[in-house]
């Protein structure tokens, strides 16, 4: 594959992530904040997010495993995860968190546990998608190319 093909593949893949709702415009904001002086900004923020989300998901698992669930605590974890997923544009994770908070409010343990599974799944899905995307970026850069600017493409 030449650089041109790699870049086209990257564009198509990125578009699909937006169209399938994995990412929203906030992710584009992150991309726009990346430049020659901060070439790894997106990877860095995304990495921080997944470290943080893993921690929160573990905390949530533990909290929902308790004989008497502290819904205020569970809600505070979900609130944090909703905030950080929103900040990176991980839209499906964010939406799963919104549903989760409703069950917290209702103090519905089963509902919460189901939501936790949903959030875990969405988190894993977007993690895999982004890892694929970043791998493509590495290949483009290694081949001497540059990562396309979504704004310039008119997306």
């Amino acid at each position: 594959m030449d650089v041109g093909q790699m870049r086209r593949q990257w564009v198509e893949y990125t578009k699909s992530l937006f169209m399938e709702g994995f990412l929203d415009s906030q992710f584009e904001q992150l991309q726009q904040l990346q430049d020659e002086s901060n070439p790894d900004f997106v990877v860095e923020v995304v990495s921080l997010f997944f470290e943080d989300s893993e921690r929160l998901l573990n905390d949530l698992t533990r909290a929902l495993d308790q004989p008497s669930v502290d819904f205020k605590l569970v809600d505070s974890y979900v609130h944090q995860l909703k905030g950080s997923s929103s900040s990176i544009g991980a839209s499906r994770v964010k939406n799963a968190c919104i549903a989760f908070r409703n069950f917290c409010e209702e103090q519905n343990v089963e509902g919460c546990r189901r939501c936790l599974q949903q959030v875990k799944q969405e988190n894993l899905l977007v993690k895999n998608k982004l890892e694929t995307l970043f791998r493509m970026e590495q290949q483009i850069v290694a081949a001497g190319g540059s990562i396309p600017n979504m704004e310039q493409i008119g997306f």
């Binding site: 904001q29 992150l30 904040l33 860095e44 943080d52 609130h79």
Partner: protein, 195 residues
Amino acid sequence: MGVAVKPNQFHVLAVDDSIIDRKLIERLLKTSSYQVTAVDSGSKALEFLGLIDEDHEQEDADIPSVSPKNLNQDIEVNLIITDYCMPEMTGYDLLRKIKESKSLKDIPVVIMSSENVPSRINRCLEEGAEEFFLKPVQMEDVSKLRPHMMRNKAKDDEPNINKRKGMEEENQSPERTRTKYNNSLEDVQLVVGDL
């Protein structure tokens, strides 16, 4: 925590307990050529601002002597931007402490929140916050910060003129909401508008 602030650059203190949001706000602010210090709590912010205990401000030699005005040029903070929802000390608590402090009350404060709660927004604006940004914060939000910092800097240079209230010829009036622009403070309405 020695910070060398370049003389003609504005220095923003960012406060957020989320590491992701701290990284994001730091990048947004640096893109606008501001110097940034980011801390993860209200108490760390107050520590940085030298307000552990106002009476003993200068006593502890380990803490750099900090002043927002011209008493000590080593560290100057031109604006504080803080998250609302933080454990222990909320952004609102921090705002109040700053406004209650003789030495810090004139530093413009901006609040950020992921939740659009009109009563919360109004409470912060009434307590003296200059702006209230909904998260995730955008470049266009950050572009609204400069007038507040410039007004504050101008105030330092002309101590007898209170530029926060009343008409302002050269600078835009403080925008108390995200959507309203008024020339006179009388007309400023603490209404949430199009939020």
